[in-house]
């Protein structure tokens, strides 16, 4: 009986993993397909051969090398600020004692609820008047501002269950607020920081709307705008090349994430305080 149960569980988990990995596998096969294969064979069929043309198209026509660099710079800089701000603000509104903390928390929370498209025209005018259009700075600032609400909210969620006695012990040992923050609280928040980091990274990495609206200089454009090079005026799309460039932009990051994730998870479990 126990064995059957274990086998059943194993199968469910296995199926689950398949369901989750399949798209990546599919994307990879799709990136090697010739245009004609899309209609000649079912989409789940394996690629006939390895049509590397898609990759070279993606690399040269999609300007991957430049766009990749730009995406990396804007995303990373924005992330540093998002993590920094969300930890400090999150801590201040959850654990610190002051009059307006709930109001401020609520104020930040509003941001989650704002439909992004509506801010486009006013934002464009702000950047245009301050001469910031077409700079990395304006993109980075936008990313930070629109990433804050969610990140702070997530951090708050973790902090609420953060044990007060640890902080108390630290304060009794003579810790000031800044030391408490950086040496006690932050290391214990690794888990939530990783979540914020990963989630925001991919949100920003996949952004198209902002970068397309605020950046017109091809030397500053980001990865997602590269995909535009494969669809034309009349709706014709070169799917092979699109998936080739998506693969190129996603796989290195996935590997990085997996490596990073394992390390961080280990660190977290080792240092975690069990209640």
């Amino acid at each position: 009986m126990k064995k059957v149960k274990a086998a059943f569980r194993g199968i469910v988990i296995f199926l689950l993993c398949m369901i989750e990995i399949y798209p990546l596998f599919w994307m990879l096969t799709a990136s090697f397909k010739k245009q004609a294969e899309w209609s000649e064979k079912p989409a789940y069929a394996l690629n006939d051969g390895f049509y590397f043309q898609n990759y070279s198209d993606a690399w040269t026509r999609g300007h991957m090398s430049t766009f990749f660099k730009n995406s990396l710079i804007t995303t990373l800089v924005a992330l540093v600020f998002i993590v920094f701000f969300s930890v400090t603000v999150g801590f201040a509104v959850t654990k610190m004692k002051w009059k307006f903390r709930n109001a401020v928390a609520q104020y930040f929370r509003f941001g989650i609820m704002i439909p992004v498209a509506i801010a486009l025209i006013p934002l464009f005018q702000i950047y245009s008047k301050t001469n910031m259009l077409n700079t990395r700075t304006c993109l980075i600032i936008t990313y930070i501002a629109f990433g804050l609400s969610l990140s702070i909210y997530l951090v708050q969620g973790y902090l609420r269950s953060f044990p007060d006695d640890i902080m108390e012990a630290a304060v009794i040992d003579g810790c000031g607020i800044y030391r408490l923050m950086w040496h006690i609280v932050t290391p214990l928040m690794k888990n939530s920081i990783v979540t914020v980091l990963v989630l925001q990274f991919f949100f920003k990495w996949n952004d198209l709307l902002f970068s397309m609206t605020f950046i017109s200089d091809s030397a500053l454009k980001t990865v997602q705008t590269g995909l535009l090079y494969f669809s034309d005026e009349f709706g014709s799309k070169n799917w092979g090349a699109i998936f080739a460039s998506v693969s190129m932009s996603v796989f290195p990051l996935l590997l990085l994430y997996m490596a990073l994730n394992k390390k961080l998870m280990e660190g977290m479990t080792a240092g975690a305080v069990k209640g």
Binding site: A36, S39, K129
Partner: protein, 434 residues
């Protein structure tokens, strides 16, 4: 009416300023004065594709051969996002010097707000009227409903039915010339177990073009203009019949199952790989046909025929559905003498350049022949030569809200969730609300 009144008013205004300060009008007859100028170009064509190549090439030529002080910045956005980008730019008065846009209702909004340069006026000033193809000019004027031209063509396309020759042979079909023959062909193909038609039901415009085809052939080339002007209601029985025709085909299974999920791209591949026999699309489809990795049917596997005629006296066999694709407009405020000089060079040379480089017609005169033209490109040129009259597409004269409705509801029409009458009524409803 408001539109026309505004246009006249604007024309009068510009005329009066010109009269008042005649010295402002530059003289474009002599040598290019090599003015310093940087122009921004916003398009939907990649630098290495289609019109993107031409625009960059002509800028390069102008800089190299005529005006070394000229520079340009080229930007591309997705065609889906063009309107959003232009709206955002217009909101802060920052339209590019030269930009791609949609002819018809979208451009009319910019014309009414005085955002775009009156091209007729500019052309008179720089003296390049002869370089424009008169057919293209009429088409564009008709689309914006103005006496003056406010945009430049950068394409001249005919549309019609592309068919798979092998499948026609297999079913023993001849190319139809009349609408009745066409219906017979469809039936014959269907009987032979071949899917007769395919279209881009998910892109929607591919399907509305089919309604347009029948509507025009039975009610005249100008039927949609009349409807837009309110002379004929959208619920006119001939228009309803056209919508019903599409529903009937779908009902009979001519499009196979789930046609609303097929995009133009897939539909095109289906034709080329022999999964469907007939596909309505424009002459731009040649770029897929000439690509070996896309076209298993090969160099002579696909043919073209114009929309078959129902009644020669209503709409003739030499009238084609024509369009200029996305057009180019010039920002009114940024237009100056230097732009004028560039425009002069552009208009004088783009026709020849397009013919030499790509073997395509862009709506300008040309006097060269392409070096080595492939069969499909040649086929399209021949069809364009045959045309005596042009008519526009289904949504051309509809303001954006009506056009959106007309496109969205074509899907329920194809699915049988809406009848032809309900479909036309839904369009009429939005029209009445305007």
């Amino acid at each position: 009416m408001k539109k026309r009144a505004l246009a006249i008013l604007m024309a009068a205004l510009t005329a009066s300023t010109m009269l008042a300060v005649p010295t402002f009008a530059a003289d474009y007859s002599g040598e290019d004065p090599q003015l310093e100028k940087n122009i921004k170009i916003l398009t939907i064509w990649a630098e290495d594709n289609d019109n993107g190549v031409l625009l960059n090439k002509i800028c390069e030529d102008y800089q190299k051969n005529v005006n070394p002080n000229f520079t340009w910045e080229y930007e591309m956005v997705a065609s889906d996002n063009l309107q959003q980008k232009i709206a955002t730019l217009a909101a802060s008065n920052d339209l590019p010097d030269l930009f791609a846009y949609e002819a018809g209702a979208p451009l009319s909004v910019l014309i009414d707000s005085g955002k775009v340069k009156d091209i007729s006026e500019a052309v008179d000033e720089i003296g390049t009227a002869d370089y424009l193809n008169s057919g293209a000019v009429e088409l564009l004027k008709g689309l914006s409903g103005t006496d003056d031209l406010y945009d430049l063509p950068l394409g001249l396309n005919v549309e019609g039915f592309w068919y798979n020759k092998a499948l026609f042979e297999q079913a023993g079909c001849e190319v139809p010339t009349t609408w009745d023959e066409f219906e017979e062909v469809l039936q014959k193909l269907s009987d032979a177990g071949i899917q007769p038609l395919t279209t881009g039901g998910s892109d929607k415009w591919g399907a509305t073009r089919l309604i347009n085809a029948y509507a025009v052939r039975t009610a005249g080339n100008d039927i949609m203009t009349k409807a837009a002007d309110g002379e004929v209601p959208y619920t006119d029985e001939k228009l309803v019949a056209a919508a019903d025709k599409l529903a009937e085909w779908a009902e009979k299974g001519y499009f196979g199952e789930g046609i609303t999920t097929v995009d133009m791209n897939t539909a095109g591949s289906m034709l080329m790989s022999g999964k469907a026999a007939i596909f309505y699309n424009g002459s731009w489809f040649t770029q897929n046909l000439t690509d070996d990795s896309q076209n298993p049917a090969g160099e002579d596997g696909i043919g073209f025929f114009n929309i078959p005629v129902a009644d020669e006296s209503v709409s003739s066999a030499t009238s084609y559905s024509m369009n200029c694709g996305n057009i180019l407009a010039l920002d009114n405020d940024k237009y100056d003498e230097a732009t004028g000089w560039f425009l002069k060079y552009f208009m004088e040379n783009i026709g020849n350049l397009a013919m030499e480089e790509q073997g395509t017609v862009k709506g300008y005169t040309y006097d060269v022949a392409a070096d080595d033209m492939d069969g499909y490109t040649k086929l399209v040129l021949d069809e364009i030569d045959k045309s005596t009259e042009g008519f526009a597409w289904w949504e051309a004269k509809m303001p954006s809200e009506i056009s959106k409705t007309a496109q969205e509801n074509v899907q329920p029409l194809l699915n049988g969730e809406m009848t032809g009458e309900e479909y036309m009524q839904s369009i009429q409803d939005v029209y009445d609300m305007q």
